[in-house]
């Protein structure tokens, strides 16, 4: 009888170890590459959000036949990462920028009219059934970067008439409530890299805009001939504080405020890259990014594109740095938010080149990384890599 009992237990244990088709695993971790069998199609991701149904909405750009600017591409994937639908927005609107924000129950982002260069606010829904685009209520041109602050947007744009970087606060309807303009400097040469950025014939600058929680507003962009981090309270013509770069050879490649003076940042300096997960910046004074120490990562490509995510993984508050390596992988670097101490790293992609566009936290406490891969080594295609917290077990 005892032998029979042991046998029963053994058989049950063996049965419990067997594999079954499990839909839960399908959404836990996956790698998806959104292919298109057209030889010359070129979609690239800009930003991504997870929708309420667990799926993913990707804002992307596309090459246009009749314009130097970037067209607008939107794509929906389901919770398993499978392609659901996409929209190629008409060529009358171009230059979409991050952030793709969920505000007033719609997904919104900024773009512009290629003829008037006026900034427009686009709205869509989780299923991409309609895309409505309307001009913002204010003279804003060339959108560079945007971020949500409560129910408002903080938008950095470029005024080509006055050659000024313009930081503005807009409500969800696109009406400007505050704005301030800052000169980028005089002369045609100052503007050239900016225009090359917009038509994607030159370097893509890490423009950012945002607000220190409850405090000053900031933008990372051109100011006074230099790519700088500029703080403002909108009340004074001059910035409250500036973290200067070195023309466009040095500056911050990403910045995320953690408190009034504490930031998670990354900087570039003549091709070198430094990650600064716990850096103190003075928003009310002038300093230089060159003086900031940081973790040198020679594995990153020169002047690497860097994304910073502040999130909680496995009950630990962490800063996730996502960037591109020289070996054409996406590198994720995890730091303790409280101390800035390095925790672990993870590399995504192999065989074909992979480049990061955005990293977000997901409903299950994991991460989703959106980027570009080159199928067959040549065709740029959007990819989405989902990581479950179990895949990030070293983050503790």
């Amino acid at each position: 009888m005892k032998r029979l009992f042991i046998l029963c237990i053994s058989v049950m244990l063996m049965a419990s170890c067997l594999e079954e088709t499990n839909p839960e695993f399908d959404q836990k971790s996956f790698t998806k590459i959104y292919d298109n069998n057209l030889f010359s199609i070129n979609y690239f991701p800009i930003d991504m959000v997870q929708t309420a149904d667990g799926g993913y909405l990707i804002l992307g750009g596309r090459r246009l036949e009749n314009s130097n600017f970037t067209g607008i591409y939107l794509m929906k994937a389901d919770k398993d990462g499978n392609f659901v639908s996409d929209v190629e927005v008409e060529e009358g609107f171009v230059n979409p920028i991050a952030q793709l924000a969920f505000i007033n129950n719609t997904y919104q982002f900024f773009c512009m009219d290629p003829l008037t260069l006026q900034v427009h606010l686009a709205q869509t829904d989780a299923n991409l059934e309609a895309v409505n685009i309307a001009p913002v209520n204010g003279e804003l041109f060339y959108p560079c970067a945007a971020q949500v602050d409560g129910n408002s947007f903080v938008l950095l744009s470029y005024n080509h008439v006055d050659k000024r970087s313009v930081l503005a606060v807009l409500n969800a309807n696109g009406t400007v409530s505050q704005s301030q303009a800052f000169s980028i400097g005089a002369g045609e040469q100052v503007e050239e890299p900016l225009i090359n950025h917009f038509i994607r014939t030159g370097r893509q600058y890490p423009f950012e805009a945002g607000r220190i929680p409850g405090g000053l507003y900031y933008f990372n962009g051109f100011y006074n001939y230099t790519f700088s981090l500029v703080f403002t309270n909108f009340n004074q013509d001059d910035p409250s504080g500036v973290v200067q770069g070195i023309q466009d050879d040095g500056g911050l490649s990403a910045v995320r405020p953690l408190s009034a003076t504490k930031f998670a940042a990354a900087r570039f300096n003549f091709g070198d890259n430094y990650l600064l997960p716990n850096v103190t910046l003075n928003p009310n004074g002038i300093s230089s990014s060159v003086d900031l120490a940081g973790n040198t990562l020679p594995e990153l490509e020169p002047d690497a594109h860097v994304k910073i995510l502040r999130t909680t993984i496995n009950n630990k508050n962490v800063l996730v740095y996502g960037s591109n390596t020289r070996s054409k992988q996406i590198g994720l670097y995890f730091y303790d938010e409280a101390t800035g101490i390095f925790i672990t790293s993870k590399y995504l992609g192999f065989s074909n080149p992979f480049e990061i566009a955005q990293v977000i936290s997901t409903d299950d406490g994991g991460l989703a990384v959106c980027g570009t891969t080159y199928v067959a080594g040549r065709f740029p295609r959007i990819c989405l890599i989902k990581l479950h917290p179990d895949d990030l077990e070293k983050v503790k």
Binding site: T21, S29, I33, Y34, N36, N37, F39, A77, F379
Partner: protein, 294 residues
Amino acid sequence: MKKLYLLPCLLLLAGLTFGQAPKKSGASFTNPAQAKKNSFLDKQWWLGFKAGINLSQVAVEKRYSALSPGNYDASLTDKAYNDFSNLGSQATLEVTFYYKGFSFSLQPGFRQSAFTYSNNYEWTDPGNADNRLELNYQNEQKIDHAEIPLIFKYDIIGNKLRPYVQVGVYYGFLINANKTVEVSGTDYASGGVNEFRNDPVIIGAKDLFAKNHWGLLGGIGANYNLGNVRLNLDIQYRKGMSLVNSTENRFGSDRLSGIGEAMDDMKLNNLVFSFGCLFPMRYLASGFKTLDQR
């Protein structure tokens, strides 16, 4: 699904308990010596070794791919499996208890299964016929399992040549797995017709396969008595009843998912051919041989 496991479990239980049933004494023999001899001849233990080849067939439960197409049907790039076309091998230790024509056999062994599939992709340009690339991915999987089959056999006729039929269950434990990917194609966009074949990439793929699996088996075979040794030819069809791939680690290999490769949910069926020899474990006396020589 778990309920389905009860059937083989019960079969396994019944087999083991019956196979180890206590001896029953004969009740109505008139000649005690003859009765003892007959009783002895009713039973035998056999120990032996078998080895051979196997061919695999994949039964797809659900298809997966890391490539999610936006403008063409995903089925166009489905994996095309080549069933029963790749040779695997196996080696088995056999322990069999024979009782009045019926046998219960435990056959722990090692089995390497191999199967292949291919994917085809094509990129074209409606505006320029020269802008075209065709790619073919050939994937070969070799999976090593330790298996414990429990088999019930029935000898159809009892002679020097003893054909039998058999049914049973088996449980497998993953030992190792490798995957070889070979990419070939034709590039029409480089100024001519460029046919190429890249060196195969061999990847350790143990994490991509299930740690355990089970299945049912049935088959035929024959024993041939050669002196005290029994030669055995055995043919089995093994039907996988649980998935052989890992559902959780489907995208666990960056090397594979990076090229759009992800394993389907699949069960593995095998056609197994073995040849071996068996030795009797019980002898009555020096002049008396095995029960098969009555």
